[in-house]
Every structure is written in C-alpha cells, then in structure tokens.
C-alpha cells in the first residue's frame, strides 16, 4: 500500500468536491438561462439562483421569461421556486426528473426592466409559422376590423374623392400586370410556332412526294418500293400531326390557366370595394354582423390572447419532442447502449407536479396544480394537465382547467376558462360607438371552451352580463337619432348575453358573434342610418367602377385577339399537315394503281410467252 497515493486520492477527491460546490451555481445558472433562452427565442433570466449538489436541490427567487414578440414584456414570471431533482436520472442519463415543484408569485404578461432580446445562435428555422398562430392572426384581424367600424359617423355628403385618395386601388395595376402577362405569353407562343420544326418537315415531306414520279415507274418492284416509301412518309406526317395537336393543347392549357383568367378581375374590383368600405368605416348592416361589431373587439381580442398561449405550448411541445430521438449511427468508440428494461427510458425533463400560486392582472390570488410537464409525453405516458383556481371575498372566481395532450399522432389542446362574479360597474360592455355607455352596476361572467385537435379548432366564448344598468346621464344628451333610438331600445335591458363561436369544422375558419341585443340594435339602425349606409356604399361602388371602367373589357378584347392570332397560326399549320396527308393518300392510290397496272402487264406477257394464265 502506497500511503502517499492514498493521500493523493483523498486530496484530489476533496479538491473536486470543493470546486463543484463553489462553482456549480453560476455554471448551472448560465447553462439553464442559455438553453432556455434558445428555446424561447428571448431571454430567460434567473435571479437568486442556488443549486445544491448534496441533495440536487434547485431554487431561485425570480424567473423571467421574456416575450420574443415584445421584448420589454415577460410571457410570465415567477417568484420563489424550489424543487429537488431525482439523483439517478441526472447521473445516469443527464435527465431532469422532478417530483414536486413549489412555484410562487406566478404572474402573466409582466413588464420588464430590461430588454429581453436574445441573440439567437444560427439554427434552422421552422418552415411553417404554425397553424395556431395563423388562427391567432385571423382572429386578431377580425377583432381589429370590428374595432374600426363606425356606425354613428355615416354621412350622406361623404367626400368620395378624398376617400379614394386614401385608398390605393389595386385593380388597375393588377389588370395592367395581367395584360403584360398575356402579352408575354403570346410572345412565347408566337416564338414557339415560329421555331417549330414542323414547317420544315412539311416542306421535306412535300419534296419527297413530288420526287415520286408515278409515270416513270416501269417495274412493279419499283412501284412496291415507292409504296413502302410513301407508307413511311405517312407515318412521319402522322407524327407531325400529333406534334401540332400537342402544341395546340399546351397552348390552350397555358392560355386558359388561372394565371390568365379574367374572372380574377371581378375579385380584384370587389377587394378594392371592400377596402374602400373599410377605410370609410361603412358598416355592414346585417343581423349576422351586428354582434361581431358590438362585442367582437373585446371578446375576440381576449380570445386571441388565450389562443396565443396555446400556440406557444404547442410550438414548445413540438420543439421538445425531437430532443429525445436516438442516434441511428454508432459513433466510433462510443458503441451501442443496450436497454434491458425501460427503467431508464426517461424524457429529457419531467416536472411531475407543480404547485403554483400567484396573482392575475386583476390582483386575484390564483393557485393550483400543473402536472406532467415533460419533454416527451410518449415516454411519460401522461399529458400536461392544469387545474388552477381563485376566489376572493367578493365572490369573484376564476378557474382554468385543461389538457395539452401530445400522446397521439394528432396534438390535442383543450381547456375551459371561467371568470365569474367580476363587477361591471364603470365598465363598458363594448368598444363600439353604438354602445359607448358605462355601466352603473352589474356582474359579469366569461366562459371560454377551446378544443383543438391538430388543425381542427372548435371554441365557444360566452359572456354574460347580469343586473346591468347603463349610465346614460354621464354620456349627456343623445347626439343623433341613432343614439336616441338605441338608448330607448336597451334602456330596459338588464342583461346581455353574448356568444362567440370560432371554428373550422366545416372548412375555413368561421368567427361568429351573436347576442340577445342584436335585434334591438338592428331595428334602431334600420330606422336611422340604413339609407345613409346604402347611399355611401353606392357612391363608393360607383367610384371604384369608374376607375376601372372599360379596363376589363379592353383586357378581354386584347386576350381574345392574341388568342385568335395564335389559333390562326395553329390552323394554318394544321391545314398544311392535312394537305400533305391528302397528297400522300393520293400518291399512294396512284402508286397502287400503277403497281396493279404493271403487274397485269407482266402477267399478260407471261401468258403470251408460255401460255399460262396467272389471273
């Protein structure tokens, strides 16, 4: 036994342990921050981080996850959080498995003191922005559009010229661009017909036909040879005919393709018209739209925010799933790991149970449990489940229950959000100028159900305001007849029940908002501004039509003319081919006749000489 060696081993072990003890905090913190920031595409910061090697315990005083779309804001932040990692998964597989997390001070959408921008390392970008983000965009667009509709500003004496100056009519440019496209296509086909070898082949065939002098053939054998040649020529000309036909088909297909379809022009004009209506803020007076106009901005705006959180969850879920893929190639000198049981088949990370507490933006204390957040649900066999709730002394309650399930082939997210008992005093039910009144009293309840399976979305938002009374006095005297009629209509209403449905069950995304006061508003509007709205629409429509007047017809004429020119070129080519075919046929008949004549002559001579008749 070497005593010096033993001391060396002990000293080395001591140094390693001490080094690990003193430097792991910073090292682990910076690694977690970096990896999480890469995943988040914006800064993830930990304050007051501590890591204990003895019991593998992690703790931080504050965690901030910056919003990559608005880097001065956090998606969420937490206060003091503490958990212990399991020893063996960390040692054997570098996997973070946590049984229980105590997470306090959870808050959504908080402001940051510093910019959360993070310089991303160069990695491959996802080619698709994601289905849910596109739905968020569409719903936000609907909310924005509804926020812009003005009902009470419709005037009969609308200045259409100044309105049109604000709108860049796109139909005219698009028509010109289409005309250029047709011209280029025409040039292409003109050149194709000019350069086709068929013309030359026709000329060659013609020479060949003319070189066959039937009268000069004196021998039946020569006649048979000439017939064979004419048969070959026929095959060549048939092939020319096929080429010409294919040329015509390609031309017709190309010219008739949707790129050159004049039907688009009507759509462009309609788009310009709709844009003009939007800029002029002319409402669509339809009972189907009134609910959307009244409550769409508020409800759909909130809905888009919730949906964005789901989109983030799905995006992160899909990013993490790929992390646990096994390497197919065996790196040299690393060998292959055999798995004799599924004991170590852990995901990259797995937070089994998170006890969460925090505050909502409305200062409502919230608490609950989130279970099974993992990097691979297939390995845990468990979807993410969350169950959060809150209630205060004024009976204001909030609950959020749901599931993010990526266990099957199609990802599925579903949740229910309920916020009830909140006061509506001094609140406005709608952002629309039709309902600008604050409420004197009332209680509100918001319920959101969302179910998304892969790209199929089905959701319903119910908003119920009960015991309400509008504060008309604060708004002063009605400014016009519309306001006066609306006040009369809704003055006796003590509840408003709104339902918004967002789904794509039957195809494209549909956004519908209906309420129990739609008819009241529609009646008031029909009695007042409907005529003004119709007049304004007619004026705008007439102006748009004027600007594109005749353009469509000119384009149709131009297209027809060019098409006819090419068609004439084809017809000419076709006629030449047909002519050659006829001449070949004619020549063949002549040759057959000549052959027969020569054969008969030969037979007669034989009969005269030897007395045998071969007929």
């Amino acid at each position: 036994m070497r005593i010096g060696g033993l001391i060396t081993v002990l000293v080395l072990a001591g140094i390693i342990f001490a080094a690990a003890f003193f430097i792991t905090d910073e090292w682990v913190e910076s690694n977690i921050e970096y990896q999480a920031s890469v995943l988040n595409e914006a800064k993830v910061e930990l304050d007051g981080f501590e890591f204990s090697l003895l019991n593998l315990q992690m703790k931080w005083d504050r965690l901030q996850v910056a919003n990559r779309n608005s880097t001065m804001e956090n998606i969420f932040e937490t206060g003091e959080t503490e958990f212990s990692m399991e020893f063996w998964p960390l040692i054997l597989g570098n996997k973070v498995i946590v049984q229980n997390v105590r997470l306090t001070g959870f808050e959504l959408a908080t402001e940051r003191e510093t910019d959360g921008y993070f310089e991303m390392p160069e990695i491959e970008e996802d080619e698709e922005p994601g289905f849910l983000y596109s739905v968020v965009k569409q719903v936000s667009g609907e909310a924005q559009k509804n926020a812009e509709v003005r009902f009470t500003d419709i005037r009969d004496d609308m200045n259409v010229d100044s309105l049109m100056a604000q709108i860049n009519l796109q139909s005219v440019d698009k028509i010109d661009s289409l005309r250029n496209g047709i011209q280029q296509n025409y040039s292409k086909w003109d050149s194709t017909f000019n350069n086709t070898p068929i013309e030359k082949e026709i000329a060659t065939a013609q020479n060949t036909i003319e070189s066959i002098k039937v009268d000069e053939i004196k021998d039946p054998k020569k006649a048979v040879e000439a017939i064979e040649n004419i048969r070959k020529l026929r095959a060549q000309v048939d092939s020319m005919k096929t080429k010409a036909d294919s040329l015509r088909n390609n031309f017709q297909q190309d010219y008739g393709s949707s790129r050159y379809d004049l039907g688009q022009v009507d759509n462009w004009i309609e788009d310009d018209f709709q844009r003009a209506l939007n800029v002029a803020q002319i409402p669509d007076l339809d009972v189907q739209n009134i609910g959307k106009a009244l409550f769409g901005q508020n409800l759909l705006g909130d809905y888009a925010v919730y949906l964005e959180y789901v989109a983030i969850a799905r995006e992160y879920g899909s990013r993490l799933i790929g992390d646990d893929e096994d390497l197919e190639e065996i790196p040299r000198y690393e060998g292959l790991d055999y798995e004799f049981s599924d004991k170590y088949d852990w995901p990259g990370f797995w937070f089994k149970n998170i006890e969460l507490s925090g505050r909502t933006k409305s200062e409502l204390g919230i608490s609950g449990v989130v279970t099974n957040i993992s990097s691979n649900q297939e390995k845990t066999g468990e979807p993410v489940l969350f169950e959060l709730g809150a209630e205060d002394e004024n009976q204001v309650s909030l609950s959020l229950n749901g599931e993010f399930n990526y266990l099957e082939e199609s990802p599925r997210e579903s949740f229910n959000f309920n916020y009830a008992g909140f006061t509506l005093s001094e609140a406005r039910l709608s952002g629309s100028d039709l309902l600008p009144y604050e409420l004197e009293s009332g209680k509100g309840e918001l319920n959101l159900n969302l179910d998304i399976v892969d790209r199929r979305i089905e959701s319903r938002i119910d908003y119920l305001a009960t015991g309400i009374s509008f504060d008309f006095e604060a708004a002063g005297e009605p400014k016009n007849r519309v306001e006066s009629l609306i006040r009369n209509a809704i003055g006796s209403t003590d509840n408003v029940d709104v339902t918004a449905l967002v789904d794509n069950i039957e195809g494209p995304l549909r956004v519908r908002v209906r309420s129990n006061v739609d008819d009241l508003f529609m009646n008031a509007l029909r009695q007042t501004i409907s005529q003004e709205v119709e007049n304004a629409k007619r004026k705008i429509e007439a102006e748009v039509e004027k600007q594109v007047d005749g353009k469509k017809e000119q384009l149709a004429e131009f297209k027809q003319e060019k098409e006819a020119e090419i068609q004439a070129r084809y017809d000419e080519l076709q006629a030449k081919v047909d002519e050659q075919l006829a001449r070949i046929e004619e020549k063949r008949e002549e040759l057959e006749e000549k052959k027969k004549e020569l054969e008969d002559e030969l037979k007669n001579r034989v009969r005269d000489r030897i007395g045998i008749d071969f007929k």
Binding site: M1, R2, G5, L6, T8, V9, W88, I91, L92, I330, R332, Y333, E334, G335, L336, D337, Y338, E339, F340, S341, K343, Y344
Partner: protein, 174 residues
C-alpha cells in the same frame, strides 16, 4: 524530445530498478485496462485509485495506457462486435438485466457494447499477460539490460548534459 527520452530512460531504469517484477507487470496491466476501455468509465476511476494506492510502477502504467489507447482505437470495431455477442448471450440475459436494473451497476455502463467488449477483453488478457510480463522483466534484467546499456543511443544520451543534471536531481530527490 528531451522529455520523451528522459521518460524512456526512466522506463528502462525502472525495468532494471529495485521495483519487483510484479509491480512493473501490475503497472502495465492496470494501464492496459485503462487504455483498452473507454477512458471515462467508472471502472477506470477504480483502476486509477488502484494505481495510486498500490505499489505498482506508475511510469509503466502511463506507458501502457498510451500504447493500449492506440491499440484500442484500432480494435474498437472488434470490441463492439464482441460486446454485442456478450450482451446477446442467452445465458447472460438475466445477469445483464439485473445489472442494468441496479443503478450502481448501471453506472459502469456495462450495457454498452464497447465498454463491456473492451473490459472483458482486457480482463481476459490480464490472465496470461501478468505472469508473462513478470517473467519478461526477470529475463530482461538477466539478459538484455546490460546489452541495452551498451547501445550507442543510450550511451549518447547518457553523455548529454541534461542526463547528468537529471541524475543529480534524481539523487537529491532520492
């Protein structure tokens, strides 16, 4: 270059020194195990501790580690295939499963084809290598060492100033 030469001189000296043939063979054997198997394995930690604690020749262990690391690089595909054969042995399945399910055994990574293949190969080699090496050292001391000392390379090296300094330092350090 001088360092390498000095190292070889040390090795040659060790062969002829008072260190027992067992200590020299032990150093080579332990170095061989580390060299043949993946370096960052749990069993190698134990081997390193053994080298430090047992009175084996550390210089020989380092030399052996360097030589057998090169051998291992070439023999990697063989270790991998041998590992597959071992891990798929029908009669061993229960043992492997039990070892795999025990976290402490799992730390050894014996479920890896190269680790188990190279480790078992190294152990098998130890059995004939240890007595052979011991015998080799004895034979070297008896028959070869004197001849080696007469080699021109060795003579030339011994006549350098560096060697005399090294000798002085060695004497001072005991």
């Amino acid at each position: 270059m001088f360092l390498i030469m000095r190292y070889f001189a040390k090795l040659l000296k060790a062969l002829a020194s008072e260190a027992s043939p067992g200590q020299i063979a032990g150093g080579i054997i332990l170095g061989m195990i580390i060299g043949l198997t993946p370096f960052f394995s749990l069993h190698n930690l134990l081997i390193v501790v053994l080298i430090l604690v047992l009175k084996v020749n550390i210089g020989m262990a380092l030399f052996s580690f360097a030589v057998f690391s090169g051998v291992a690089y070439l023999a990697d595909p063989i270790f991998h295939s041998f590992g597959i054969w071992l891990l798929e042995l029908e009669s061993m399945q229960q043992t492997w499963t039990n070892m795999y399910n025990s976290e402490w055994w799992a730390l050894t990574k014996f479920y890896n084809t190269v680790v188990i293949g190279s480790f078992v190969t190294a152990l098998i080699l130890c059995i004939p290598a240890f007595p052979l090496l011991k015998y080799g050292v004895v034979q070297y001391r008896k028959h070869i060492h004197a001849k080696v000392q007469k080699w021109k390379v060795v003579q030339a090296f011994k006549s350098t100033k560096f060697y005399s300094i090294y000798q002085t330092v060695s004497r001072v350090r005991g």
